[in-house]
């Protein structure tokens, strides 16, 4: 697509002489009901022909006010609500919330619970990336990957269902640990899944990595420099694809991540293609972590000693985890009662979406679709 932009450059769109190509600025509305906006995102595009001059995101269609709801629920009652923010990675939300409240209570989950949490969170990361890959490729025009990724994601959801009875909004963790012990055959199921999915990731790559259309539609599209990333507060795979080697699992390990060996994949070019490669590699690293965690799964209780009525001492805490989308943070203020005084969620999708304008300025309309896909937003988390 970029080549086409260059081939038009001899027409000099900015000159006052527009005899050959008279263009007017056009305001075009995209969404909120649009298949490639991954939910209810509305983007107002300012166009010059096919070239994007600027964008404005209109969000809030899915705003449910979870932060307000939190102030009227006890710590335990709010737990299921966090699953409804990033609903394709509910496990990560639960992990972030439970860990934050545990920190506020100045306690830690037992190590067996931490291992189970890591296993499920990494499986969820794979599931989230698979859903992203399928829909992102579909947006760009490749239909096949969707069927492949959904087929494999199903296996993860089956494990979740066997573990806690739910597939998407799992509510698998509790403050203080996990409610459920693993079921008989959990380890075998997970290892079987790892063996199953390892070659499948190679399969996705055969479909896309060297695919001429895929490469042309993604390489050089939606470029974000590392400086822009940091200035815009972008985190997660988008940041790493720009060459910044930063992952909270390594930088500030939580839930026992320091015990596992894994690499942080980093990109070079900071474009849509590199973000694709980074996420593919992250899935492979997740398999590595899951294998280690299952191999070293300690025995012991899965639930720590927590009082029945949670009353964290007055104070405030910020804790964040590396969710599949980026840094997911919870800022909780306690006034010593059973209900939080305030819970603030630092949503990675919301902050990353802000970079959309920087990424698409000067690109073509078709690239907007590719870039929305590559940021990997979930509107439930953007709007909360």
């Amino acid at each position: 697509m970029t080549e086409q932009t260059d081939s038009l450059s001899h027409l000099d769109l900015n000159s006052s002489d527009k005899t050959f190509l008279a263009t007017n600025e056009l305001i075009l509305n995209m969404g909120p009901q649009h298949p490639s906006t991954h939910g209810v995102l509305r983007v107002i595009l300012k166009l010059d022909g096919e070239k994007v001059l600027g964008t404005e995101c209109v969000i809030g269609y899915l705003h449910r006010g979870v932060e307000k709801i939190a102030e009227h629920r006890t710590y335990t009652m709010f737990n299921p609500y966090v699953d409804r923010m990033d609903y394709v990675a509910a496990i990560s939300n639960g992990l972030g919330y439970c860990e934050t409240v545990e920190k506020l209570l100045n306690m830690e989950a037992p190590s067996r619970a931490q291992y189970i949490r890591v296993i499920l969170a990494e499986l969820n990361r794979m599931a989230s990336h698979m859903l992203w890959l399928g829909t992102h490729a579909l947006d760009i025009g490749a239909i096949t990957p969707l069927f492949y990724t959904f087929r494999d994601r199903e296996e993860i959801l089956k494990i979740f269902e066997k573990y806690c009875g739910a597939r998407l909004t799992t509510h698998a963790f509790r403050i203080g640990g996990c409610l459920y012990e693993t079921y008989d055959g959990f380890e075998e199921d997970v290892i079987k899944f790892c063996n199953f999915v390892d070659p499948k990731i190679g399969e996705y790559e055969t479909l896309l990595t060297t695919n001429r259309i895929w490469v042309q539609r993604t390489r050089g599209v939606g470029y974000l420099s590392p400086e822009d990333c940091i200035n815009l507060g972008v985190t997660g795979p988008v940041l790493r694809a720009s060459g910044v080697k930063w992952d909270l699992r390594k930088a500030q390990p939580y839930s026992g991540y320091e015990k596992f060996e894994f690499d942080i994949p980093v990109g070079v070019n900071g474009d849509t293609y590199d973000r694709y490669l980074v996420r593919i590699e992250e899935m492979r690293q997740s398999i590595r972590i899951v294998r280690q965690a299952v191999g070293g799964l300690p025995t012991g209780p899965v639930m720590g000693k927590v009082p029945k009525v949670l009353k964290p001492p007055p104070g405030e805490i910020y804790h964040s985890i590396e969710s599949p989308k980026g840094e997911l943070g919870f800022f909780i203020v306690s006034d010593g009662s059973t209900q939080p005084y305030r819970i603030r969620v630092r949503p990675p999708s919301f902050v990353n979406l802000q970079a959309l304008d920087t990424m698409v300025r000067g690109a073509l309309v078709a690239d907007v679709v590719a870039v929305i896909g590559t940021i990997d937003i979930v509107l439930g988390e953007v709007d909360r």
């Binding site: 100045n106 012990e181 910020y318 305030r342």
Partner: protein, 289 residues
């Protein structure tokens, strides 16, 4: 799947061992606080510190990390009735920043048995580092406090100087990533709103918070020139709390519709409250409530 018994069937607990782990702790052995906690007679009725969670910290029982006061003021207030502390409330803390540590650490330990024997609540302590010393030298009394709670450090800054402190942190100290901007509402205080900036430095791998209190109707300074990420974050604070950011390029609501009246995250906004008029005009329906 169909013929399998669900692993988490409540009627068939998998093993007795894990069952105990989930029930009320039975063994009060180690901690003196346990029997009270596990007692079936409604822990809700017991006063605050009595049912505080078990913690590893052996520090005092100071439960109020209230901002704007020095540790001395708090401890002396709490301890004076029950014990005679060596450092009286008159002792001014101004001389050295190290002094409050000793007092805050020592005084509650003495009173502890009398007041609440089993409370082991983490206490906010002073945050000491080279950076804090530098900032205290540079900004003087504008740095109202520099504290550390649960290993997390924060500055409390006078609202007039908050932009300069943030700019200094950004330019000189390498805090190049603004994690979050948010606010808190305390309707009973004179300075009703507390604006909080959470900063992170990639170079140091360190996260800090900066807090500043403002009155209703006052504006907070925008930090968009320093970190462009604050654009949407500040808009959300405006949307939810009605705090305007001075100099923001685009101070509009972001999640709620533009014409909406009221700021939902203020404490005086009810949980089921909504802008009925807006709903009726724009959606053409009587309110759903």
């Amino acid at each position: 799947m169909a013929d399998e018994k669900h692993p988490n069937d409540p009627l068939n607990p998998p093993t007795p061992a894990q069952d105990t782990s989930q029930s009320v702790p039975k063994t009060p052995a180690g901690e003196p606080g346990k029997p009270g906690d596990a007692a079936p007679t409604g822990p809700a009725s017991i006063s605050g510190p009595a049912i505080a969670p078990p913690s590893t910290s052996s520090e005092g029982n100071e439960p109020k990390p209230e901002v704007g006061k020095t540790p001395e003021q708090k401890t002396s207030g709490a301890t004076a009735p029950s014990a005679s502390t060596p450092a009286g409330p008159e002792a001014p803390p101004a001389a050295s920043p190290a002094k409050p540590v000793a007092v805050a650490g020592a005084a509650p330990a003495e009173v502890k048995p009398a007041a609440a024997p089993k409370a082991a609540v983490p206490v906010p302590g002073p945050w000491e580092s080279e950076m804090v010393t530098r900032f205290k030298e540079r900004f003087g009394a504008s740095i109202l406090d520099a504290q550390s709670y649960l290993k997390q450090n924060y500055f409390v800054v006078h609202s007039e100087k908050s932009y300069e402190v943030l700019a200094e942190l950004h330019d000189q100290e390498g805090f190049d990533y603004l994690v979050d901007v948010t606010a808190l509402h305390y309707p009973e205080r004179e300075l009703q709103f507390e604006v909080i900036w959470i900063l992170y430095s990639f170079e140091r791998n360190e996260r800090i918070r900066v807090k500043s209190s403002i009155k209703e109707g006052d504006k907070a300074p925008t930090v968009v020139p320093l970190w462009s990420t604050s654009n949407w974050l500040e808009r959300e604070v405006f949307d939810m709390f009605g705090i305007e950011f001075d100099g923001h390029p685009d101070m509009r609501r972001i999640l709620l519709p533009d014409g909406w009246k009221g700021y939902p995250l203020r404490k005086d906004y009810g949980i089921i409250q909504q802008d009925q008029e807006w709903v009726q005009i724009n959606l053409g329906i009587p309110s759903g409530q």
